[in-house]
Structure formats: structure tokens, C-alpha cells
């Protein structure tokens, strides 16, 4: 059972021994290591030869010295008193046995240690000091009295242990340093709350680890609640935590189960999670103040489902930037031109007539090239700002000349119109009449659009 021990027998032939023992050689960091100091002494030697080290009477007249041994806990009443580092301590009876024909009694003193860091841990030897009487004589009053006294000491062997680091594999994200065995209880009050109101959650954590060695659960992660405050009664073995929780979500129907991750070093050693039961709440419907947005604690946060393939992020390119500036400028400019033309048209309706006549001529030419005399005449009249029939008059050439056309152009236009009219009304056919008319209109348009006086 005791894998590690350091043993020393008493000096000379004194029937006395002291040893350091631990249940096993390997321990985890922060694990409670029960160390036993075992003292054995022959019963007759104890009763007959040992003298008390102090004036105070002790059950075991022995002084145990080991600076690393923690101070003794008060006796429950069934211990055997002895001296530990100068103060009174109590050992438990550890059985009796017979060795070499003598009856031995054993006593054990237990202490719990914890190693902070992994590595080799060497516990120094402990010393057991005692005094042996010499030259005993019988005194009528005090009985058997020693004439002399001899102080002696024996020491144990040091105790070597191996401290292992806590494993990384399987460590829960919520692990906060607790090593040992723990139990969890939770209670909440009041159990009827409205969003925006607070309740107190009392969490009792019972465990064999000192409270300073671990952190309590982080309830900043509690779904639907916001942690407003926390009281910590660092008692041992029960640590009591009181959390003030603000209910933020009207959908919450309970204080969720609280989880507490710890490392249980009992072989084979592993991480465990202690859980409380969820505490049902009665949530009043109407919030006394507006509830906060959905996720007020980390545990409320919802993951997003990433798309398997997302388009690359839009980056601003200089081309797009320039286009974004030029396009409005172009639109505005176009609108300005349009507006200017509309104004000019409003001031001069005959311009509109001329434009429309040109368009009409083009359409007529495309549909019935053999009957384009009338549209051509209307075009010429519109451009000359005359009534429609005026173009048919013999004075057409002179009017075109007056409008600024060159002489040959004016003559050609008048002749083309005459040929077209003749062809339509029974005269000789004019094979190239349509082509000539188109060329005339093109030339006249260039002339009039160039701003020459109409």
C-alpha cells in the first residue's frame, strides 16, 4: 500500500523507529498528498526508559522535527500527544506487533501536502528527538527516578516523490485549476423574476482542494443572464459563491445547469465535470426595463454557418472610383444638353418641324422609295420655314439660294424634287431619284445644322 517510505531505526540499540510514508510515488501537481510520519517504539522502552522532553507531560515523550510538516490540527480526543516542532501535536494509534520478542507500538501522524510544480519532490528527513534516563533508582515518593539523562536523536530517510503535470489532452475549456474531488450544489432566489431584475444564485462547491488553488466557474457565460456581482466565501471544504445575475432574456425559463470542471487525480486520473441541476424560474412577462440584445453572455453567442464559397471581398479599384465620378458628370452633361435643346425647341417650333420632317423623309424612303416626293417636298418646306405646298412652287431654287445654299446645290435639290414629282405623277421614271433625294437631304442637314441662316 505504501509505495514510498523513508525509514530509520533508532540510534544504537534503542528500540525506536521513524519513517515517512506516502501511498504512492507519483502524484499530480496540486493533488493532495497524504504523508504519514510513522513512529514505532518498543512498549517496555517507552514505559521504562524514555524521559519527557519538556516539563509538560506527553503521552509520547518524543519531539518530532521537520520544518516542512504543517502545524498540527486540534485533537479529536483519541490521539496520543507528542511534540511537533516545539508545539503539541497528536498521533493516532497505528497498531502493535511483536518484533524480536518485544512488543512494539506504532503511532502515525498525518499531514497533507500539495506540490505546485511538476518535477521531482524530495521531502527532507524528519528527526525524532528523545531523552533516555540513566542510573535509575527507586525513590520512596516519586518511584523509579533516573539519576541521569541522555538526549538522543534518530532521523528518517528523505522521501522522494514524482510530481506529474496535469494532462493537456481532454482538458475542458472551463477547467480553472481545481484538482481533487468536488461536488456542486446550487440554489437560486427569488425564483420569480422579470427581465431586467436580478436573482441570487448560491453555488456550494465541496472539495478537498484549498480554495486558493482554483477559480470558481465563470458565470459570465450563462445563457440569458448577465453577471452583475459575485461574493466568494472561501471556506474549506465548502466554498460558497453567491452570484448576482440579471435576467436579460425573457425567453429564459431556468437558471441553466452550472458546470464545474476539475481534475480527479485518483488513478487512472482524468478530467471530470460536476453539474448542478437547472433551476426552473417563473419569468414574468412584462419586462420592467428593456431587455438587452439577444446575446448578453458568451454562452448565448451563436455560431454563423460560413458559406462554402464566398465571393472575394469587394475592393475599391481606381477604375471604379473614376467611373463613379465620370458617370454622374456625363449624365449631368447629357441632361444639360437635352435641357438646352428643349429650350431652343420651345423658342423655335419650326426647328422641331424641320427635324421631324427629316425623320419622316428617312422613314418614307425606307418604306416606299418610289413615293418619296411628298416627304421630300415637306422636308424642303420645313427647312425653308414655308407652308408645305410652297416647296412645289417654281421659286424653290431661288428660296434655297436665299437660305444660303450654294447655287449648284439649290439647283440640284429643285431638280430632284421636280423629277420625283414627275415620276410619281405619270412622267418618266426616275431610277436614281430616291438616292439623289437622300443625298440632298444629307447635304441640306449638314448645311442647316452648321448654323447657316435658314
Amino acid at each position: 500500500m505504501f509505495a514510498a517510505l523513508g525509514l530509520a531505526l533508532g540510534a544504537a540499540q534503542d528500540p525506536l523507529l521513524v519513517e515517512l510514508r506516502a501511498p504512492r510515488r507519483e502524484w499530480y501537481a496540486q493533488e493532495a498528498i497524504p504523508i504519514e510520519v510513522r513512529i514505532g517504539v518498543a512498549q517496555d522502552f517507552l514505559e521504562r526508559d524514555l524521559l519527557p522532553p519538556f516539563h509538560r507531560r506527553l503521552d509520547l515523550p518524543l519531539l518530532l522535527e521537520g520544518s516542512w510538516l504543517p502545524a498540527a490540527q486540534p485533537d479529536a480526543g483519541d490521539g496520543f500527544s507528542f511534540a511537533l516542532n516545539g508545539a503539541e501535536a497528536w498521533a493516532r494509534a497505528g497498531g502493535a506487533e511483536s518484533r524480536a520478542g518485544r512488543a512494539w507500538s506504532f503511532y502515525s501522524y498525518s499531514a497533507v501536502l500539495r506540490a505546485d510544480q511538476p518535477g521531482e519532490l524530495a521531502l527532507p528527513a524528519v528527526a525524532l528527538r528523545y531523552a533516555v534516563g540513566t542510573g535509575f533508582r527507586d525513590d520512596p515518593i516519586h518511584g523509579r527516578v533516573a539519576a541521569g539523562r541522555e538526549d538522543r536523536m534518530i532521523a528518517s530517510e528523505p522521501l522522494r516523490l514524482t510530481i506529474l503535470p496535469l494532462p493537456v489532452a481532454g482538458r475542458p475549456a472551463s477547467f480553472r485549476g481545481a484538482v481533487g474531488r468536488f461536488e456542486l450544489e446550487a440554489a437560486a432566489a427569488p425564483l420569480e423574476v422579470a427581465p431586467g431584475e436580478t436573482l441570487t444564485l448560491r453555488l456550494s462547491i465541496r472539495g478537498d482542494a484549498p480554495p486558493a488553488s482554483w477559480e470558481p466557474p465563470d458565470l459570465g457565460l450563462l445563457p440569458g443572464f448577465e453577471l452583475r456581482g459575485q461574493l466568494d466565501d472561501r471556506g474549506s471544504p465548502v466554498r460558497i459563491l453567491q452570484y448576482e445575475l440579471l435576467l436579460r432574456n425573457a425567453d429564459a425559463r431556468a437558471v441553466p445547469a452550472i458546470e464545474f470542471a476539475y481534475f480527479d487525480p485518483a488513478p487512472p486520473g482524468g478530467y471530470r465535470i460536476a453539474r448542478t441541476e437547472a433551476i426552473p424560474l417563473r419569468v414574468r412577462g412584462a419586462p420592467s426595463q428593456p431587455a438587452a440584445p439577444a446575446a448578453a453572455a458568451v454562452a448565448d453567442l451563436r455560431l454563423q454557418e460560413p458559406r462554402a464559397s464566398a465571393p472575394p471581398p469587394h475592393r475599391l479599384t481606381s477604375a471604379a472610383f473614376v467611373l463613379a465620378l465620370l458617370l454622374p458628370a456625363a449624365l449631368t452633361g447629357s441632361f444639360g444638353l437635352f435641357q438646352r435643346r428643349r429650350a431652343r425647341d420651345a423658342r423655335d417650333p419650326l426647328r422641331v418641324r424641320a427635324r421631324r420632317a427629316a425623320a419622316h423623309f428617312q422613314r418614307a424612303l425606307a418604306r416606299h422609295p418610289e413615293r418619296c416626293a411628298a416627304p421630300f417636298a415637306e422636308y424642303l418646306a420645313a427647312r425653308l420655314r414655308l407652308p408645305a405646298g410652297a416647296a412645289l412652287a417654281p421659286s424653290l431654287e431661288s428660296r434655297l439660294l436665299a437660305a444660303g445654299l450654294p447655287r449648284d446645290g439649290a439647283r440640284e435639290a429643285a431638280e430632284t424634287l421636280a423629277d420625283l414629282l414627275a415620276a410619281e405623277y405619270g412622267g418618266p421614271p426616275c431610277a436614281d431619284g430616291a438616292a439623289r433625294a437622300r443625298a440632298q437631304v444629307r447635304r441640306l442637314e449638314r448645311h442647316f445644322r452648321a448654323g447657316r441662316p435658314a
Partner: protein, 234 residues
């Protein structure tokens, strides 16, 4: 070994594996997978930053969470969940909650957070309507209205250009503290230290150092202590 494990996880469906790890408390594992996914060229960066922020927050790294939440998107990608997460990270970092923004600040934030295409469309619209409005209302009493719109469009174009090409890149302090030194040498004593979550301007870059500027001062910080923000991050 870890690479092999990650490869296996990714083969088995990266995002679902990460989500399962997250839900089962293996947050560090989920974080590693999301980071791997983020490195892909066609990654859904907004969602992955969002999830990485959650992982960092659960792992007790609020500065890293803050960094990811900022990258998760501007007002366009904002959700109640993201806003609450940002608030939570800010609270953990001890950042003073900003007072409620004035209307013009909200408009600026919305503009800064918008995608470049949206911003350009808005600018183009303002310039066009402003220009045409001036032409239409010339000589009338309401000319100031399109003129204002035109000016707003021009100002927006200027802001967009500054943000895209002229403004110094920014970063977030990820470590518990980021000591600033006069020169990029670790042996030099730190002049000032920046708190986690602090937003800094990147003035220059060296091999493993960044020259940063903050209201507390400027100096060289280890590049690993600063998370670089994408240009235009609000």
C-alpha cells in the same frame, strides 16, 4: 501531428467539425479549424471572423475576440448577436462604452461600414441628382438643396479615396500588453505599454516589428502582438 489531425478534420467537413468541437467545449480545436478555413481564398471571412471571435471570447482572450468582431463586418453584416458579442468583448476589455452616436456620426459609420460598391453607388447617385438638380433649379429658391447633395457626394468620394488609399492601416493589440520601444529591438526598455484591445495606426513595418501610433504614444511593437485590420474596418 496537429497538421494531420487538422487535415483529417477538414476532410470531414471543416465548418461542421469546428461547430461540433465548439459545442462540445473543444473551443481551441474549433478556433484552429476556423483559422485554417479563413486562410482559404474563397473563405466566408465575415462568418469565420464572427465565429473566431466567439472562440476567443470563450477562451478568455477578449482582445482577440474584439479584433475578430471588428473584422466580422460593418453595419451591413451587423446583427444583434454580433453587437452583443462586441459589447461583451468590450466589457471584458474594460473599454468604455462609447456614448450613443449623434445622427451624423451614425451616418458616417454607416458609410464607412458599407461595401465599396455600395458607397460608390451612393456617391454616384448624389452627384447625379445634385448635378441635375442644379440644372433644374437654376434661378429658383431651392438651389441650395442639390448643391448640398453635390457637396455631400464629393465629400463622400474624398472620404472613400482617403480610406482606400491614403489612410494608414490599423491594428488591434492582441496581447495582454504591447510594450512600445524606441527602436525595433527586444533588448530595449519599453517606453509605454498599450492595453489589450487598443486600436493603433500602423506607420511602418519592419521584419518582425510594427511602428504604431496610439494616443498614449508611438513606437515599435512586436508584430505578433498586433492584429492587422482589413482596410476600411469600421
Amino acid at each position: 501531428m496537429i497538421g494531420l489531425l487538422l487535415a483529417l478534420i477538414l476532410q470531414s467537413g471543416g465548418a461542421p467539425a469546428a461547430a461540433a468541437a465548439y459545442q462540445n467545449g473543444r473551443v481551441e480545436e474549433a478556433r484552429l479549424i476556423y483559422r485554417e478555413l479563413l486562410a482559404a481564398p474563397d473563405a466566408d471571412a465575415a462568418a469565420l471572423h464572427h465565429n473566431l471571435g466567439h472562440c476567443a471570447l470563450r477562451l478568455g482572450r477578449p482582445a482577440e475576440a474584439w479584433y475578430h468582431y471588428l473584422q466580422a463586418g460593418g453595419p451591413a453584416a451587423a446583427s444583434a448577436d454580433l453587437e452583443a458579442a462586441r459589447a461583451l468583448a468590450a466589457r471584458r476589455l474594460g473599454l468604455t462604452p462609447a456614448p450613443a452616436p449623434a445622427p451624423h456620426q451614425r451616418m458616417l459609420a454607416a458609410f464607412d461600414g458599407s461595401a465599396p460598391a455600395q458607397a460608390l453607388a451612393g456617391i454616384g447617385l448624389a452627384l447625379t441628382i445634385g448635378g441635375i438638380g442644379i440644372l433644374l433649379l437654376r434661378g429658383r429658391g431651392w438651389l441650395w438643396l442639390p448643391a448640398l447633395l453635390l457637396l455631400l457626394g464629393l465629400a463622400g468620394a474624398g472620404r472613400l479615396a482617403h480610406r482606400a488609399w491614403l489612410a494608414a492601416p490599423e491594428g488591434i493589440v492582441l496581447d495582454e500588453s504591447a510594450p512600445l520601444r524606441d527602436e525595433p529591438h527586444a533588448a530595449l526598455a519599453a517606453r509605454v505599454s498599450l492595453p489589450p484591445g487598443a486600436r493603433v495606426r500602423i506607420l511602418a513595418r519592419s521584419d518582425r516589428w510594427l511602428r504604431v501610433e496610439h494616443e498614449r504614444g508611438s513606437g515599435w511593437a512586436a508584430a505578433g502582438a498586433i492584429g492587422l485590420l482589413e482596410p476600411g474596418t469600421p
